[in-house]
C-alpha cells in the first residue's frame, strides 16, 4: 500500500475526535469529517449513531455519496433538535472564521447588516455549542480563517461561554480543531487554542505563519498519528473508493 496522503491523515485526525464518545450521534459536516466519522464507527467507536445526511440512521459502513444498505430508524430535524438539546451529539462543523478561544463565524464576513460576504446564516451553531461537544474542520488553514477576532459569534468559544454565565457554559465543550496542517485543542484554565500535533510534511513555523493569533505551542510538538494499514484499507476501498477526499485536501 502507498504511503498515506495528507487527506488520509486528516481523515484519521477527524475520526479521533469521536474516540470514546460511546452511543451518541456523530454529525460530521464536510467530506473529510464524514469519512472520519464512518471510519471511527467502523473501528474504535462502534456505538456511534450516523445519519445518511437526510433523515435516516444508517447501519454498517457505506461509501460517501451513497446510501446505507440498511437503516436502524429515522431522525427527522425536529427530533435532531431535541437530541441536540439533550446533549447526546458531537458535531464537527466548518468555520468561516475561528479565534483563539474557539468562537466561530459561519454567517457573515464584515458588518452583519451589510456583509461584505454573506455566508449561510448561523444555522445550528449557537445551539450546538451550548448543548453538546463540538469540533471543527478547516480544509485550508489560513489567516483568513484563523483570525484575531471573528466578525460574528455563531458558535461560542470559551471566553464567551464563561462571560455569558452558567447556563451558557454548563454543557459547552470544544473538543478539537483539525486543519489540513495540524490538530488543535483548548486546554487549561484559560482555554486558548493549542497546537496538539503537526501533520507529516507540515511544520510548526508554517502553522504559526498561517494563523492570525498567537497559538500555544509546546516545546516538543508531536506528529499527528498516521493511519494504520487497516484504516487505510477502509478509507481507500470501503468509505471513499472514488477519492473525493483529495478534492477537499489536495495531495
Amino acid at each position: 500500500m502507498t504511503a498515506p496522503t495528507r487527506a488520509e491523515v486528516c481523515v484519521v485526525a477527524c475520526a479521533e475526535a469521536w474516540r470514546g464518545d460511546g452511543e451518541i450521534l456523530a454529525s460530521p459536516i464536510g467530506l473529510v469529517p464524514t469519512v472520519g466519522a464512518r471510519l471511527a464507527r467502523a473501528t474504535f467507536s462502534p456505538d456511534l449513531l450516523l445519519t445518511d445526511g437526510e433523515a435516516s440512521l444508517g447501519v454498517g459502513t457505506w461509501p460517501v455519496g451513497e446510501s446505507p444498505a440498511q437503516v436502524e430508524g429515522v431522525l427527522p430535524f425536529r427530533q435532531i433538535f431535541e437530541l441536540i438539546w439533550s446533549g447526546r451529539r458531537h458535531v464537527m462543523m466548518g468555520p468561516g472564521q475561528i479565534d483563539r478561544y474557539g468562537n466561530v463565524n459561519i454567517s457573515a464576513i464584515g458588518d452583519f447588516h451589510r456583509p461584505k460576504v454573506a455566508l449561510l446564516g448561523v444555522r445550528g451553531a449557537p445551539g450546538n455549542t451550548v448543548s453538546h461537544p463540538c469540533s471543527y474542520w478547516v480544509p485550508r488553514h489560513s489567516r483568513r480563517i484563523f483570525v484575531e477576532r471573528v466578525d460574528l459569534v455563531c458558535g461560542i468559544g470559551y471566553d464567551r461561554a464563561a462571560a455569558a454565565g452558567p447556563s451558557a457554559s454548563r454543557y459547552h465543550q470544544l473538543r478539537r480543531v483539525v486543519s489540513n496542517l495540524g490538530v488543535f485543542d483548548f486546554p487549561g484554565p484559560d482555554h486558548r487554542m493549542r497546537l496538539v500535533s503537526v501533520h507529516p510534511g507540515a511544520t510548526v513555523d508554517q502553522i504559526r505563519e498561517a494563523t492570525g493569533f498567537d497559538l500555544q505551542v509546546g516545546a516538543d510538538v508531536p506528529q499527528t498519528r498516521l493511519p494504520t494499514p487497516a484504516e487505510l484499507r477502509l478509507i481507500r476501498t470501503v468509505i471513499d473508493p472514488a477519492g473525493h477526499r483529495d478534492a477537499e485536501v489536495p495531495r
Binding site: W85, A108, F112, Y171
Partner: protein
C-alpha cells in the same frame, strides 16, 4: 364537511401586503413552490417571510417581495448558498432576523401553543442576541438558569406542500422528514396546503403519516410537481440540473431576465410546460 379546494390564485387573493408568511419545507426540499410562484405573479409586497430558507426565499427576494426575513439559513443544499439571498444580504436590501435553527422551531412552537415565548439556552453567548436587540432573557423561577426567551413567531399565513391531501385539508407526508410543516400550520391564522394529489380520505394511509389535520387548514391546492425544482421524495427528487440553471441565472441580471422570461412570466401551467420542454430538449441533445 367543507370542501376546501382552492386555486393558487385564490390563496394569493386572501393574502395582503405586509403580512407575515411562514413557508414550510427545509432548504431546497419540499417547498410549496407553486404557491410561491403565484405570489411572484401578484402585487403583494412588504412581506415578512419565516422560513428554513431555500429557493422559496431566493425567488421572493429576487422579486422584491420581502421587507423582513426570519431565518436560520438560506441554502440550496447541493449548492450551499442561495445566490439571491447572498445578493440581497450584501446589498443590505432586507431586514434580516437571523436565528439559530432551533430558535425558529421554538418560536413556531410557542405560537402554536399561544405562548408569548419559550425558554432555551440556545443563543446564549452568541451574537444572535446582539444582531436581534429585541431578544430578551428570562430567569428560571426554579434555579439559577438565565435563558433566552424566544418570542412566538405568530404567522398570518402558512404555506406548505405535502404529498397527498383530501379536500377537507387532512394531509399526508410520505417523505423521509415532515420538517416543521405541521407547526407552520399550527402557528398560522390561515394555513394553505398544496399537494401532489388530492385523494379520498380513506386513501390517506398510513394514518400515522397524516401530518396535518383539517381543523388547521383553510385551503387545499392541487399542485402536481408543485414543489419543483425542490425535492418531493418519494414522488420526485430535486431537479439538480434545473437548480444549477437557476443558480447560474442568478449570477447576472441579464441571465436572470432570460430565466424569468422563460420560466416565470407565465402561470403555473406555463411554468410546468416550460420545464417539460426543457427536459425534452435536454433529452434530444443527449
Amino acid at each position: 364537511m367543507t370542501d376546501k379546494r382552492m386555486t393558487a390564485e385564490q390563496v394569493v387573493s386572501e393574502l395582503r401586503s405586509g403580512m407575515t408568511i411562514g413557508i414550510g419545507g427545509w432548504g431546497s426540499r419540499r417547498k410549496p413552490m407553486s404557491l410561491v410562484r403565484a405570489i411572484l405573479r401578484s402585487d403583494l409586497d412588504d412581506l415578512t417571510i419565516v422560513s428554513y430558507g431555500g429557493p422559496d426565499v431566493g425567488l421572493l427576494l429576487a422579486a422584491g417581495k420581502v421587507r423582513r426575513l426570519v431565518y436560520g439559513f438560506v441554502s440550496l443544499d447541493s449548492i450551499p448558498l442561495e445566490p439571491h439571498f447572498r445578493a440581497a444580504r450584501q446589498a443590505g436590501a432586507i431586514e434580516a432576523v437571523e436565528y439559530d435553527e432551533g430558535m425558529l422551531y421554538l418560536g413556531l412552537y410557542a405560537a402554536a401553543c399561544r405562548l408569548p415565548f419559550l425558554p432555551t439556552r440556545v443563543g446564549l453567548g452568541s451574537d444572535v442576541l446582539r444582531i436581534n436587540p429585541l431578544l430578551r432573557t428570562v430567569r428560571s423561577p426554579y434555579d439559577d438558569e438565565e435563558l433566552v426567551a424566544v418570542p412566538a413567531l405568530r404567522l398570518d399565513a402558512a404555506l406548505v406542500h405535502l404529498h397527498r391531501a383530501d379536500v377537507h385539508g387532512n394531509a399526508l407526508c410520505l417523505g423521509p422528514d415532515p420538517y416543521f410543516d405541521d407547526l407552520y400550520c399550527a402557528a398560522a391564522d390561515r394555513a394553505y396546503v398544496s399537494c401532489e394529489r388530492i385523494v379520498p380520505t380513506e386513501e390517506l394511509a398510513p394514518a400515522a403519516s397524516v401530518l396535518i389535520r383539517r381543523h388547521q387548514v383553510r385551503g387545499v391546492v392541487p399542485a402536481a410537481h408543485g414543489a419543483h425544482f425542490t425535492s418531493c421524495e418519494p414522488d420526485y427528487p430535486r431537479d439538480e440540473q434545473f437548480q444549477r440553471e437557476y443558480a447560474a441565472a442568478a449570477a447576472t441580471p441579464e441571465r436572470w431576465v432570460d430565466f424569468h422570461r422563460r420560466y416565470l412570466d407565465t402561470d403555473e401551467a406555463g411554468y410546468q410546460r416550460a420545464v417539460a420542454d426543457r427536459d425534452q430538449q435536454l433529452e434530444v441533445a443527449r
